[in-house]
């Protein structure tokens, strides 16, 4: 399905520069999503990068410790992506769960099981998601 030039296979990510340029703190969003255990491990104020191990390739990337925690630990918890969550929220959480690795609408759908790839694509292109810094690769 093509919407403009973008399709359900087009990849999106959260543009962290956009957050910075707009004076917003992405770490706050991630911290809010953390489970209590992870919240105890790191503080919101102390930003640090850690080695994040890719769950498929074993590749190591330097990643914000909160995002590493969110993707590797909390992202697997049932409450991280619950069915009652609004779709736009669930999509945003899906990016955090993936460590902000670029994802397509189809991949997000496979992760959140809400709506459909087409509906998710439309949401990804919505003003609300644009305001959250969601950008096509």
């Amino acid at each position: 399905m093509t919407v403009g030039r973008l399709t359900t296979k087009s990849k999106f990510y959260i543009d962290l520069d956009y957050w910075e340029q707009n004076g917003r703190n992405f770490r706050e969003e991630v911290y809010d999503a953390l489970c209590e255990t992870c919240k105890k491990m790191y503080s919101l104020e102390e930003a640090r990068l850690v080695d994040h191990v890719d769950p498929e390739t074993g590749q190591v990337k330097r990643m914000d410790a909160l995002l590493d925690c969110a993707s590797a630990e909390c992202g697997h918890a049932p409450e991280f992506l619950n069915p009652k969550m609004p779709l736009t929220r669930a999509i945003f959480r899906a990016f955090i769960a993936a460590g902000n690795e670029p994802q397509s609408a189809e991949e997000i759908y496979a992760r959140i099981k809400k709506g459909s790839p087409n509906i998710i694509l439309k949401e990804l292109l919505s003003q609300q998601m644009e305001a959250d810094g969601i950008t096509a690769v």
Partner: protein, 550 residues
């Protein structure tokens, strides 16, 4: 980044888990194409062997070589590179293969300690890839990770044993090899075997002339070893196979000779001695259009059918044990000097896929050369014997197996001629087949219902040459039926109609019985007898046929 990785290598080295037939191996052999090295290998094998070899043997050579080559390559690779697994420890300079990255290879350039308080400490290896980029990978990482579960298994061409590969992919490889070798003048092919042209024994025209004379004198098909003996070409035991191959090859390419043996058994004969009626079916032996209907027959007709050997061309090939069979002669075979190649008769001889020279031994043990025409379902060559034995349509014949598979015994049961019998006769009036009765001597046992003697052979031959018999079977039967009724009985037996309609066209008993059982024009009166419903006769029956000579 991984452009330097060849697709074949990627497919051939590693996979995540092994199944009964790995997809890498399947891909390898399904995408196999013959290359120059394969041809060189085959050439070297044939040169060393020095004799004709089967295509399957050549395929085996290629499979074994390719599998060995792949195994060597894998061994070389594995000696140099290790499959990357996060749990393993590496050292600088070590080469790694990354299965999750399309089996790309890289070299460890440095190793450092990990930095993540959430995780148990591990090491991080910096790996440089072929395109110059460096990526970091976890090592000595004991935590659960899918790559830690991977078992390094070599896959590809060498996954299975050569036997397994040949069983699975042999036919495809043989087909490709055959196509490739046929286009190469270095190789000569004969009956599924190959020989290097340079190894062919010289079989010159002088040898072929002697072979021609030998076959003519023998007046029988001769095997290649028999001809080699005659030509004294079989003295060199070491080159025996090559000599036979070369002789076969030379005979095959000389129009004077023809292979008249059973399937897979070459027997050479002379083309000019093969009767024309073996190559082209005489008109009288050409089958009529099959009946459109093929419903099961009533049990009564099935019983009658089982008592006579049906002569048709749509039987499925079935394996039968050779046994004595009884055949009732019909007009087309009497006229052509042939026998129907029924299921039972077929079982008396080896399988043939082309005209095959056989012999029939008569009641005196006299050998009658005859030809099996497998496609058109007849055995040709009995005209003189029929004439000599004064046999006619309806005569009972018996064929029996013989120890020589290319020979069968044929006989009829003589009958004291005594007083002439009143028998049905077939003749032609105004371009139509008609019947009468006449006293005739009958010196053989016969089928009561099927005995019909040709009265007017010239007229019958002319009728065969017209399109009279080309009409639908139901119309032919409806045309013939009243002619038989004129002889005295309103009901006619199915076998009589089968015998009678064959004077117009060769047609099988099942087809005739089907037409009788399923046409509204005919009604059974029991015991295999039928009456013609005049009102239901097909309209066209009254239309005069064209009677044009064909």
């Amino acid at each position: 980044m991984f452009a330097g990785m060849s697709a074949s290598r990627g497919a051939a080295i590693f996979c995540l888990k092994r199944t009964s037939m790995s997809s890498a191996s399947e891909t390898y052999w399904n995408n196999y194409s013959v290359n120059e090295r394969d041809v060189e290998r085959v050439y070297a094998f044939m040169l060393e062997k020095g004799e004709a070899v089967r295509t399957a043997d050549l395929a085996r050579v290629v499979i074994a070589a390719r599998a060995h080559e792949e195994e060597e390559r894998r061994r070389r690779l594995s000696a140099q590179a290790v499959l990357y697994q996060p749990k393993l420890a590496f050292e600088t300079g070590q080469r790694l293969i990354f299965s999750a990255l399309n089996d790309v290879e890289g070299t460890v350039t440095s190793i450092r300690a990990s930095d993540n308080p959430r995780l148990k400490p591990f090491r991080v290896a910096a790996v440089k890839f072929g395109d110059g980029l460096i990526r970091e990978f976890a090592c000595e990482y004991d935590l659960p990770h899918p790559l830690n579960e991977v078992k390094p298994i070599a896959t590809g061409a060498a996954d299975e044993s050569p036997d397994e590969i040949q069983a699975r992919f042999g036919p495809r490889i043989e087909r490709l090899l055959t196509a490739r070798l046929r286009g190469d003048k270095e190789f000569v092919e004969q009956a599924g075997k190959w020989l290097l042209r340079g190894l062919l024994t010289d079989v010159n025209v002088g040898f072929l002339n002697i072979a021609e004379a030998a076959i003519e004198q023998n007046n029988a098909g001769m095997t290649t070893p028999e001809l080699a003996r005659v030509l004294e070409l079989d003295t060199d035991v070491a080159k025996h196979e090559t000599t036979l191959f070369s002789l076969d090859y030379a005979l095959q390419r000389d129009d004077r000779f023809v292979d008249v043996g059973p399937s897979g058994q070459t027997r050479w004969y002379l083309n000019r001695l093969v009767p024309a009626d073996v190559w082209s079916v005489p008109r009288v032996l050409q089958f009529g259009a099959p009946s459109k209907r093929s419903e099961p027959l009533p049990p009564e007709l099935e019983t009658i059918l089982s008592e006579i050997q049906d002569d048709n061309n749509d039987d499925e090939a079935e394996a039968h044990v050779p046994a004595t069979v009884n055949v009732i002669l019909t007009y087309p075979h009497r006229r052509a000097g042939s026998l129907p190649l029924t299921q039972g008769v077929r079982a008396l001889f080896p399988l043939a896929d082309k005209p095959m020279l056989i012999a029939l031994l008569d009641e005196y043990g006299v050998r009658i050369p005859a030809w099996v025409a497998p496609e058109e379902n007849y055995i040709f060559g009995l005209k003189a014997w029929y004439d000599r034995s004064k046999l006619n349509p309806g005569a009972l014949l018996e064929l029996a197996p013989h120890p020589d598979p290319l020979t069968a015994v044929i006989r009829f049961q003589p009958r004291r001629e005594g007083k002439s019998l009143w028998v049905k006769i077939a003749k032609v009036e105004s371009g139509h087949l008609t019947f009468g009765t006449s006293p005739r001597p009958v010196a053989y046992k016969y089928d009561e219902e099927m005995l019909i003697l040709p009265e007017d052979q010239n007229g019958l031959d002319k009728l065969s040459a017209t399109n009279y018999g080309d009409r639908p079977l139901e119309l032919l039967l409806a045309d013939i039926f009243p002619e038989l009724v004129k002889l005295g009985s309103s009901s006619i037996h199915a076998k009589t109609l089968y015998s009678a309609v064959n004077f117009a066209k060769r047609v099988g008993a099942r087809a005739v019985f089907n037409a009788l059982a399923n046409s509204e024009a005919f009604t059974t009166t029991g015991g295999g007898y039928f009456v013609l419903q005049m009102a239901a006769r097909p309209a066209q029956v009254f239309t005069e046929h064209q009677g044009k000579p064909l």
